[in-house]
Amino acid sequence: MSDVENKVKEIVVEQLDLDVEVSELSNSSSFVDDLGADSLDTVELVMALEEEFECEIPEEDAEKITTVQQAIDYVTENA
């Protein structure tokens, strides 16, 4: 697992208060459909990613980050 992938998953597990190990979190998991996030959770998640990777994620991009893999890809490309 790359550093970025690991860090993103750590943030997801922490923000969504998930009862799984980082290594068990599937990249294809959808925050809302699979991990039980509500709209406020997804906003918080994006803010946590911004903070960790010191980047600003515009609203139109934030809307497109709906799975773990999309978050990893976005951070890899933009941070």
Partner: protein, 249 residues
């Protein structure tokens, strides 16, 4: 019972705290153990706040509530010192009374910016820290005029009515994080503003008030303390009218 109102260690931000209602709110919460930062627009105002709060571990800070940069600056400063507030009291406000026919766009916007846009800016700046803490209290100081209207105060009434809708919406957004958002709406309170009234004006005013006296800043501060403390934990999106009965919603 008294523990219910204990705020020991809670970081509180009160805007417009150099005098009047804001000052009494800041002092009252500080006496309950809160670490209170009170804001004023000028350095001398901030100093006077430090003078009365320092005994309780609080202090004053300079802030223009209608300026986003000023708000960001203060939040960064708080983050590095006392920590982000989990209680925000949006008290700062101004009046600029004129009949609508005489009210120009500047008169309108100045009051909307200071009394309403400020609440957007301050709440947004504080909400992230509250979400992380999974607790928070936002208390917006409204006015009976927001419900009743008053000739000469179209701008002020619009702002004060506007903050009620804002508070109800935000209360619904962040309720799941243990954050409450409420309004305390004062009636006629004895302050510098009402001291200027003459005896006849005062009498006619009191005829509208069943409790037959002007309110005190303490009357308002106690309602704010109630909402800020554990006692008010299950109240959100609500407006508490503190007006001696002059208006009953």
């Amino acid at each position: 019972m008294s523990d219910l109102f204990d705020l020991t260690g809670t970081v509180v931000l009160v805007t417009g705290a150099s005098r009047g209602i804001g000052r009494d709110i800041a002092e009252t919460l500080a006496k309950q153990g809160a670490v209170v930062v009170g804001t004023a627009t000028s350095a001398s105002g901030a100093e006077s706040i430090t003078d009365y709060l320092s005994a309780h571990g609080g202090r004053g800070a300079v802030l223009d509530v209608s300026n986003a940069d000023s708000v960001d600056q203060l939040m960064a400063e708080l983050k590095g010192s006392v920590g982000l507030p989990t209680v925000l009291v949006n008290n700062a406000g101004i009046t600029n009374d004129k009949l609508l026919m005489r009210m120009n766009l500047d008169d309108w916007q100045q009051v909307i910016n200071t009394n309403l846009s400020s609440i957007y800016l301050m709440s947004k700046a504080c909400i992230r820290g509250m979400m992380k803490a999974k607790t928070g209290r936002i208390i917006n100081i409204g006015s009976v005029i927001g419900d009743m209207g008053n000739p000469g105060q179209c701008n002020y009434a619009a702002a004060k009515a506007g903050l009620i809708g804002f508070s109800k919406s935000l209360a619904r957004e962040v309720g799941s994080r243990g954050i409450t958002v409420n309004v305390v709406a004062p009636g006629y309170i004895q302050t510098d503003m009402t001291d200027e009234l003459d005896a006849a004006q005062r009498d006619s005013l009191l005829q509208q008030v069943p409790l037959q006296r002007l309110g005190t800043t303490q009357d308002i501060a106690q309602a704010v303390l109630f909402l800020a403390s554990g006692a008010g934990a299950y109240i959100t999106g609500e407006t508490i009218h503190v007006n001696g009965g002059m208006y009953m919603s």
